[in-house]
């Protein structure tokens, strides 16, 4: 791979011209978050000015992958409970996944499913911020969306290689582009100024040993992706469960009994996520009527 070509692809993805531009509200909220005098109430009001965004956010916040026992009915309490960086990445995902819901339902369901597994794992391991890890799971494949949107021709080439040669998507990506979707996702998350708790797990979900600060978060998203693929919510013709990084597995210290319970819990919660897609379908049908 010539360095020049690689740079060109890199630049195209960094510019993300076709990705839905970050809603102006994110910029505004970022500014507000830096101001110590701004209250969460004021931030909630800014979000709810966009009714669709407000409704979408509450729907995401109340979905199975955060697993809050009670319903969160106001944006203000969502900001307090989830923290600003999670809300910010949810606003970003809401706009990016809008594209996915219509164009790549499978990747959307894989992402929702991964968020569920990450949540179950994070709670079992009693990490301090399970919501951030669920969110990292939700956006872990965001690099795939970016490649598909910005480098459509190369994406088709990658898909054809997976189909013809039975290699994994990330192998094909590396061959065609010189980097894979995890790295792309990491760049994007960085561009959006997301915290390293979100950037590292996204960037390192296929190489958790490469995480520097957030080793446990990266390990959880790595294993979450593997488990959800094992359960059949994968993406594309790259059907294979990816290799497990020993270092990540050792970090989680899960026993067979843990795994039994985790799988049950995930299955239970996936019913709710299936409902999430069904809800979307019902909305869609209602619109078509």
């Amino acid at each position: 791979m010539e360095e020049e070509k690689r740079q060109k692809f890199r630049q195209a993805l960094r510019d993300v011209k076709n990705l839905p531009t970050l809603p102006a509200v994110v910029m505004k909220l970022t500014k507000m978050a830096e101001d110590p005098d701004v209250t969460t109430e004021q931030m909630g009001r800014v979000i709810s000015k966009d009714h669709i965004l407000g409704a979408k956010l509450l729907k995401l916040v109340n979905s199975a992958f955060y697993g809050f026992p009670q319903r969160i009915s106001s944006l203000q309490s969502a900001i307090i409970l989830l923290g600003f960086s999670v809300i910010k990445s949810l606003i970003i995902s809401a706009s990016i996944f809008e594209f996915m819901e219509d164009n790549d339902r499978e990747l959307w369901e894989h992402s929702l499913g991964c968020a569920v597994v990450c949540n179950v794992l994070a709670r079992r391991l009693a990490v301090s911020d399970p919501e951030e890890i669920s969110t990292a799971g939700l956006i872990h494949d965001i690099g795939k969306v970016a490649i598909k949107m910005e480098l459509a021709q190369e994406y088709r080439e990658i898909e054809a290689m997976v189909h013809d040669r039975g290699i994994s998507m990330r192998e094909a990506e590396t061959e065609v582009l010189g980097f894979n979707h995890a790295e792309v996702g990491g760049w994007l998350a960085k561009t959006w100024n997301l915290p390293s708790k979100l950037v590292e797990p996204v960037a390192m979900h296929h190489n958790p040993a490469g995480a520097k600060k957030e080793k446990l978060a990266a390990a959880i998203v790595h294993v979450g992706d593997i488990i959800i693929r094992g359960m059949g919510l994968g993406h594309g013709e790259d059907i294979w469960v990816p290799a497990l990084a020993q270092s990540a597995w050792q970090l989680l210290k899960l026993t067979a009994a843990d795994l039994d319970e985790i799988l049950l819990e995930v299955e239970e919660k996936l019913w709710e996520v299936k409902g999430f897609s069904l809800d979307i379908m019902a909305e869609f049908e209602a619109k078509a009527d």
């Binding site: 094992g230 059949g232 294979w240 899960l254 799988l263 809800d279 379908m281």
Partner: protein, 102 residues
């Protein structure tokens, strides 16, 4: 058990899970036999989906249990030397079989 759209529900189906209103109130319990008036009421209340016993609806593209087990086997075929993943595979297969009988 199977999750279906309320619009797909028909009389005589049995609820495998309780139906909750959006505010968390339980509307009808597990084991309730659906009647046409009940289905109508759920639709009027904008309950999008319900979970029922058995597997009453054929979903386009859904696999037979044999094909599903084969698919699980196929996607795990490149990690056969990783014991934890083989354990997970075994468990997923057991759950797949159990789900058809529930």
């Amino acid at each position: 058990m199977q999750k279906i759209l309320t619009a797909q529900a028909t009389e005589g189906m049995v609820l495998a899970r309780e139906v909750e209103a959006p505010d968390g109130r339980v509307l009808c319990g597990k084991g309730t036999v659906l009647t046409s008036s009940l289905i109508l009421r759920l639709q009027q209340m904008d309950i999008p989906s319900v979970t029922v016993d058995g597997h009453p609806l054929e979903v386009a593209g859904e696999l037979t249990i044999e094909a599903e087990l084969q698919a699980i086997e196929a996607r795990s075929s490149r990690v056969t030397s990783t014991p934890p993943l083989m354990y997970i595979k075994k468990k997923i297969m057991e759950r797949a079989v159990a789900a058809r009988h529930a």
